[in-house]
């Protein structure tokens, strides 16, 4: 149907430039390749991927090697034979070098051959189609036609990485809307090895078809391959620009190419199994090879592009065009982005133009922000909001991220029905990414265990600031018990650069397409500063600058010094000796402070060398004053005990305050005689009236008796008790101490010490010459035997006659005087 080589009179003026250089190939289906001929009046697609524009610039993929990881490649297909590259091929399923597909009645292994044709089907050979990179070398890895294991994937992804430039994969975990799966350890290593050392250190390019589970309400964030920062996740749009029925949306999609749509939309034409040609290639499977081929054109324009350069160029050149999506937004870096299409439709010509003059972006920094491990409940029909203040690892120059590329959020959630969850992330600039949408068919109770969600929507934005994570629980009717879930942990991993990625490029030639890099984050309509056109200092914010230094910024990103001549200098942090006020200005601390919260001397946080911090006062001194002691371990002045004027430690007081007296190591209030210090009431209280001085309350606490009182058994009494006698002892000071002492045991009362000072006796005893004698009459004046007599003499001698038993035994002897 395509009217090739139209007469000039029939071509509209808008396309006159195309007509002058009209490309025509004799391949059978050339005219049916609607996604290449978008710009004419025949086809419906309104936005062009500008593939012919890239060809006209001379880029056809020459010397670029692409491999298709799939179910094999029909290497002898007439349209693939010329460009087939055995060094970019392998059969992992059978472990041999021939990737020919396995033929069967259903032709189930046609997928790889169809993908390969899109990339590098030969041009002008009358066969089938023209590949987008029709001079690239094409290979295939047969790896899906058998047990796919982690090892199989890793072998495929790491095949000949110094030879192969681009790996294209149009497969992934099940798109059933309930699977959460991704690359295992070997495949992840293969990715990391590839980007680190593939293509002689420039990094392998991994292109991945986004999920095809639109009808299953799947979400491509649950696919760890498309979610990876190392893969370029490709979405699809139909010829009409409408969203295809199979399309999944997620924040990890980077860009889009054309593919099939509804039944009335045209599909993709490409090489098919058994040397055929098909017009029925569909799905995101068709988009990934297209994207791989467009990238091949860019790599031909600049073979030195790294894996990150390629992603940057895609972000810069992809366009929303007429792609229909309800959520197109412009992020703070000025890029249009949506969850369906990423940054929009790929533009091959723009990419090669960009690639021609591209300078490598600065090295990637990876900032792993601290994890938030506080358990939070996710209540049904509510939203849980958690805010994290990211610094972008500003304290580490090797991982400091200012300008974002990818953002990864690692989340661990326990929940009874995973599909009821949806998760959003809002950047400090206000760009909201939907990390996860509800998945109707996902009834799993496994939650997410440290799953990594990725968004590209913050590309080019600033990293530091408040990041807001929102988790919604929208219970489905299929959920019987509405138990709350639990957010256990989440953390941010920020990828990007500390230097503006385009600061070394001069973009005046593309001023209309690209914003000036001095005001990268502003719309193009902003006024330009004519005097200075170079890069701004990293401490300048998005308002641009008038020169390269930090003193030339129009506004500062973090903090600033203001000088007497009213100029400013931007800094990342206020240095020691300065504090930052509410307006982010650095002001001087007091001269005694190392760091502070204000300029007064009582607003120190830490002290300068030679000064000591005073506890609870935020002040710094040279010597700790009264009431404080120097804690040499903490290098600070700490308080002495209460009432202590000077001390050597927290428990040893050496001098008390006036009115206090040192009691051991502690100070207590000095009380007047007749009073004592009550520690509970902290007052002096009167002693008992019997006490002249005392240590406490009660008559037992007397330490000295009052006038007219006598000390008896540590008590002060007015007169000696029964069984005691008054003792008066002269003291050194001339006074006489009067006390009551206990009488001898033999006395009932006495006048003095010993057994000869009794004044009265116990019953049964007679007082005789001051001694108490037994007074009982022997009932029986029996003669004691000689032995008894001797024994009784001993009893009497030893004063044992008081004992009743012995008294009776030796009655006569005991009765005698003497």
């Amino acid at each position: 149907d395509y009217k090739s080589a139209l007469p000039l009179s029939q071509i509209s003026p808008a396309h006159s430039s195309v007509a002058q250089n009209n490309i025509f190939y004799n391949d059978a289906k050339w005219s049916s390749m609607w996604y290449i001929h978008c710009n004419d009046d025949v086809n419906n697609c309104q936005s062009d991927m500008n593939i012919m524009g890239a060809w006209k610039r001379g880029y056809t993929g020459k010397d670029v090697v692409v491999t298709i990881l799939d179910d094999g490649i029909e290497r002898n297909h007439p349209d693939l034979l010329q460009n087939y590259d055995p060094q970019a091929s392998f059969d992992v399923n059978s472990n041999d070098a021939d990737p020919m597909p396995r033929y069967d009645a259903t032709n189930e292994n046609k997928h790889g051959t169809r993908c390969a044709g899109e990339v590098a089907a030969s041009a002008n050979n009358t066969h089938c189609i023209v590949g987008i990179a029709y001079n690239a070398r094409i290979g295939g890895v047969r790896m899906l036609d058998g047990d796919v294991t982690d090892m199989v994937e890793a072998r495929s992804l790491s095949l000949n990485p110094q030879h192969i430039d681009i790996y294209s994969a149009s497969w992934g975990p099940d798109d059933d809307g309930k699977t959460v799966d991704g690359p295992a350890s070997l495949a992840r290593q293969a990715f990391e090895n590839g980007i680190r050392s593939g293509r002689k250190g420039r990094g392998s390019i991994f292109v991945w078809a986004s999920g095809n589970g639109g009808r299953s309400r799947d979400h491509c964030s649950c696919d760890g391959y498309t979610n990876s920062i190392y893969t370029i996740s490709i979405s699809s749009t139909a010829e009409s620009g409408r969203k295809p029925w199979y399309l999944e949306e997620c924040s990890s999609t980077l860009t889009t190419t054309y593919s099939s749509g509804e039944n009335y939309d045209r599909k993709i034409i490409t090489t098919d199994l058994r040397h055929r040609c098909t017009d029925s290639h569909t799905g995101t499977s068709a988009s990934a090879p297209m994207a791989a081929a467009i990238i091949a054109l860019a790599l031909e324009a600049n073979p030195l592009l790294t894996w990150r350069d390629v992603q940057h160029i895609i972000v810069k050149t992809s366009r929303a065009g007429h792609l229909s999506a309800p959520d197109w937004k412009t992020n703070a870096a000025g890029y249009n982005v949506s969850h369906l299409y990423g940054f929009g439709l790929m533009d091959a010509e723009a990419m090669v133009k960009e690639a021609e003059q591209w300078k490598q972006v600065p090295s990637q920094h990876i900032c792993m922000e601290s994890a938030d491990r506080q358990f939070r409940s996710i209540r049904p029909e509510h939203v849980l909001r958690s805010v994290y203040k990211a610094t972008g690892c500003a304290d580490n120059p090797n991982s400091h991220v200012i300008y974002l590329e990818h953002v990864v959020v690692r989340i661990t959630i326990a929940h009874s029905r995973r599909g009821d969850l949806s998760i959003n992330l809002t950047s400090p600039s206000g760009t909201k990414s939907q990390l996860l949408a509800n998945r109707l068919f996902d009834h799993s109770m496994e939650g997410f265990k440290n799953w990594e969600f990725m968004t590209t929507h913050c590309w080019g934005e600033k990293a530091s600031g408040d990041w807001v994570l929102e988790i919604y629980d929208s219970p489905s009717q299929l959920r019987s018990q509405k138990l709350p879930g639990k957010l256990k942990e989440w953390s941010l991993v920020l990828y990007g650069t500390s230097v503006h990625p385009y600061s070394s490029m001069h973009s005046s030639l593309h001023a209309e397409k690209q914003p000036r890099f001095t005001d990268m984050l502003q719309p193009v309509e902003e006024e330009f500063t004519e005097e200075y056109n170079g890069p701004c200092h990293a401490e300048c914010n998005e308002n641009g600058c008038e020169g390269p230094g930090p003193q030339h910024c129009n506004n500062c990103l973090h903090y600033f010094f203001k000088f007497k001549n009213n100029t400013r200098m931007c800094v990342s942090e206020c240095p020691s000796g300065f504090f930052r006020d509410d307006r982010k200005r650095c002001k001087k601390c007091s001269s005694t402070c190392e760091t502070c919260v204000g300029s007064r001397s009582d607003q120190c946080i830490t002290c300068r060398s030679g000064f000591h911090f005073i506890e609870d006062s935020n002040t710094c001194v040279v010597n700790c004053g009264d009431g404080f002691y120097l804690d040499r371990d903490l290098h600070m002045c700490r308080r002495c005990l209460e009432n202590c004027k000077k001390c050597t430690s927290s428990s040893i007081c050496t001098e008390c305050k006036p009115g206090m007296s040192l009691q051991g190591n502690k100070c207590q209030m000095t009380c007047d005689p007749g009073t004592y210090y009550n520690g509970h009431r902290r007052t002096c209280e009167p002693c008992h009236r019997a006490c002249a001085t005392c240590a406490g309350t009660g008559v037992e606490a007397c330490t000295k008796c009052a006038e007219g009182y006598l000390l008896e058994d540590w008590r002060c009494v007015s007169s000696c008790s029964h069984g005691t006698y008054l003792l008066e002892q002269p003291l050194d000071n001339g006074q006489v101490q009067r006390s009551c002492k206990k009488c001898d045991n033999s006395c009932f009362e006495c006048l003095g010490p010993g057994e000869r000072n009794c004044s009265s006796c116990n019953s049964g005893y007679n007082l005789e010459a001051g001694a108490c004698m037994v007074s009982t009459i022997c009932k029986d004046a029996n003669e004691e035997s000689w032995a008894e007599g001797s024994f009784c003499v001993l009893v009497k001698k030893n004063n044992l006659c008081q004992r009743r038993v012995l008294q009776q035994l030796c009655c006569r002897t005991c009765s005698q005087k003497g």
Binding site: D70, D71, N95, H111, L144, D147, V148, T149, D150, M151, V152, E153, A154, R155, S156, L157, S158, L159, N160, P161, S170, W171, G172, P173, D174, D175, T179, D181, A184, S185, L186, Q189, A190, N193, G194, A209, S210, G211, N212, G283, T284, S285
Partner: protein, 87 residues
């Protein structure tokens, strides 16, 4: 619906530093066949054991399992079939 149980194969991925000779020696010691390095992953080898069940819902146990205790084997993992679909 597709089977959700893990399906173990009779292929293992191992990490053995020291070069292919060391890997070959260890493979022979425990009855495996060394299928070579896994792609471009240095020190990673593909071991195959013909006398274990080709596909099983249980991870394989036997004399060959002692390879995991071999000091020179830094890491070993029995390969599990993954469900992958063409898009």
């Amino acid at each position: 619906p597709p089977c959700k149980a893990r399906i173990y194969t009779n292929h293992w991925a191992v990490r053995i530093p020291g070069g292919p000779e060391v890997a070959e020696h260890i493979a022979q010691k425990y009855g495996y066949r060394n299928m070579g390095q896994i792609g471009d992953l240095r020190d990673h080898y593909h071991f195959y054991h013909s006398r274990t069940i080709k596909r099983s819902t249980l991870s394989s146990r036997g004399r060959h399992s002692f390879i995991s205790m071999e000091p020179k084997v830094e890491w070993i993992e029995q390969q599990v079939v993954k469900r992958r679909i063409k898009r």
